[in-house]
């Protein structure tokens, strides 16, 4: 572990990133004694840290620091609690881009809070947690990273202390999320019972201890149930989704953007590792694919249909994020290389689309002071950038052809058909059409309806920069999807290869 500190290569990357970001976070904590005077300095430091992270991961992915052509389809290093593989590159870049964009807007969003600098410190800590969640290959590391991601985000949700809605969102989010961690811990303890180790990729030296006999099968199923519930709550997949609309509506809107993309996206990484590696899901695809398919169908259908009836734009986005989680789960249900490619690709796209939508809505709400759909009437005449960014991101979320969301959804539906789950693809396509209805409704309110007044609403610089970057990502990926698709494909292929090379610990459980 400690010898790794000097290495700039891929094996040391998670630790290098953590050290840099944590140092910046601690410096920002010291800056909080200066109060709001230090907020621009904190913004610079945090954005610099996130930008460094994005560049660092990109260089690693291009093989810049390693002598050999780095890990094309390599198996992760299993002796350690963290690893660097293509899956962690994908999630790392998605998380850091979201954190970077959100970080740009914080100063402009919290105009009347007394200590904005604290927000940056907590933002950095929650980002480190999300990153390490994607890197971790050990259940203990995973749990610790999960908590580092969660605990600061409770505070971020309640950051507007004088706003009753923000308070309520914070207490609800805290209770539900803490319960999720408790259930997850219970599930982890059962896995420990089955395998005798906390390492996800097993003990490579061959000291797997408990002779896993067929008699443990029921315990394996119980463990899977608890883990599904724990992850499901964080992912807001349907039977566990009730808290999402309240939390996202009450939280500061930019925090909703962070929670619905970085936190949610990062949760998919350990879920994939646990279900595909420990439970060797790809081997037992027939047993578990139906579970994920049902979760996917429920999430898509309920999320999209509930969004149709909402009057508040943030609630619409909250329900739409439930639906989007359903699309991502299609890839898990398919369980093939193509399916996981679709899932990873959609997580990347979903992060930029959803955060763009939430940031645009945050900017609009700052002007109109309400998230009701009717106050969005005629916004096209009162603002320039925010309506355009919101329109593009909503169309991308709905899956309009030249934008990024279209390609990843296409991959997901094709993978479902490819894995003999054509009905799942049909449900997904129907849902896409339903979702277009409410996405386009927001656009219609903004451009076709009569504005209540003609006064211009302010657009601040931080939001401008963030929205332009997000829109560029959406459009560029839509026009030229090949590089990101290739990245997702490489990740899926190497991930499934590693999952099948290492003898799955619980394989005998289900035989």
């Amino acid at each position: 572990m400690s010898s790794v500190l000097t290495s700039l290569g891929p094996e040391g990357m998670p630790i290098d990133l953590t050290i840099v970001l944590a140092t910046i976070g601690l410096i920002i904590i010291i800056l909080t004694v200066l109060g709001n005077r230090s907020k621009y300095l904190a913004m610079g430091l945090a954005s610099g840290g996130f930008a460094f992270g994005i560049i660092f991961i990109a260089l690693q992915a291009l093989g810049f620091f390693s002598s050999s052509s780095s890990l094309p389809y390599s198996v992760p290093i299993v002796t350690d609690v963290v690893t660097t593989d293509w899956v962690s590159y994908i999630f790392g870049i998605a998380i850091l881009i979201v954190a970077f964009l959100v970080g740009l807007t914080v100063v402009d969003y919290f105009t009347d809070e007394s200590n904005v600098t604290t927000f940056y410190a907590l933002l950095i800590f929650t980002t480190i947690g999300a990153l390490l969640l994607a890197f971790s290959t050990d259940l203990l590391m995973m749990f610790v990273a999960w908590e580092l991601m969660s605990i600061p985000s409770y505070v971020l949700t309640g950051f507007k202390k004088k706003d009753p809605a923000s308070n309520e969102a914070a207490v609800k989010y805290f209770l539900v999320s803490a319960f999720a961690s408790a259930v997850l811990l219970y599930g982890i303890s059962l896995i420990y019972l089955l395998t005798g180790t906390t390492s996800i990729y097993g003990n490579s030296v061959g000291t797997t201890i408990v002779s896993v006999s067929s008699g443990y099968g029921p315990v394996g199923i119980l463990a899977l149930t608890f883990l599904l519930a724990g992850f499901g709550i964080k992912l807001a997949a349907v039977p566990f989704h009730m808290w999402i609309p309240d939390a996202y509506q009450g939280a500061p809107t930019i925090v909703s953007g962070l929670l619905s993309t970085a936190t949610k996206g990062a949760t998919f990484a350990p879920a994939a590792r646990i279900f595909f590696v420990i439970f060797s899901f790809s081997t037992f695809q027939h047993d578990w694919s139906l579970t994920f398919a049902v979760l996917a169908v429920l999430s898509m259908t309920l999320g999209n249909f509930a969004a149709l009836t909402q009057k508040s734009v943030t609630r619409i986005l909250a329900y739409s994020s439930i639906g989007q989680a359903g699309y991502i789960l299609i890839g898990f249900a398919a369980g093939s290389i193509l399916g996981l490619t679709g899932s990873f690709f959609h997580i990347l796209n979903y992060a930029s689309m959803q955060v763009c939508a939430f940031l645009a809505v945050a900017l609009i709400i700052q002007g109109t002071r309400s998230d009701n759909l009717d106050t969005f009437n005629g916004l096209g005449k009162r603002m320039t950038l925010a309506p355009i960014a919101l329109t593009l991101s909503l169309l991308a979320l709905g899956g309009f052809p030249p934008l990024s969301g279209f390609w990843s959804k296409l991959t997901l539906f094709l993978s479902a058909i490819n894995s003999n789950l054509a009905w799942l693809a049909v449900v997904g396509i129907i849902n896409s059409f339903v979702s277009i209805a409410f996405y386009v409704r927001i656009v219609k309110h903004m451009y076709l309806d009569q504005a209540p007044s003609d006064t211009r609403l302010p657009e601040t610089n931080g939001f401008r920069v963030a929205l332009i970057i997000a829109v560029l990502i959406i459009v560029a990926t839509g026009v030229y999807p090949y590089p990101l698709y290739q990245l997702a494909y490489t990740a899926a292929r190497s991930f499934l290869a590693s999952a099948s090379i290492i003898p799955a610990l619980l394989r005998s459980v289900f035989l």
Binding site: A170, G196, Q310
Partner: protein, 104 residues
């Protein structure tokens, strides 16, 4: 000697009590109690499994995990109770279902 299944029974009873509390209670503090009960059930599992299942050399993993989980529970309690305090200051009430400021 006590067989492992007895510890598993105790921990699952605690888990069920926790879930029952989470579904039936409205008071934020009671909900927090329920969560702590579930965490304790999981810790009991971890320690029991590390005693019963693993031969010497790797047996400490479960106990170490329990140590981590206890420390993390303390951190979570600090933040969570601070949030409850803030909610009480503003709403004069900690009943989660009584808040209902949101909705359309």
């Amino acid at each position: 000697m006590v067989p492992l299944i007895d510890y598993l029974i105790v921990s699952s009873i605690l888990f069920v009590i926790g879930v029952y509390g989470l579904v039936s209670k409205g008071n934020a503090l009671r909900l927090f109690f329920a969560i702590e009960i579930v965490v304790n059930a999981a810790n009991l599992n971890l320690v029991a499994f590390s005693r019963y299942l693993t031969p010497a050399g790797y047996a400490a993993e479960g106990q170490t995990f329990a140590l981590f989980s206890i420390a993390i529970a303390a951190a979570e309690a600090a933040v969570g109770l601070a949030i409850v305090l803030v909610v009480f200051r503003l709403h004069k009430n900690v009943d989660v279902f009584g808040l209902r400021k949101l909705k359309n």
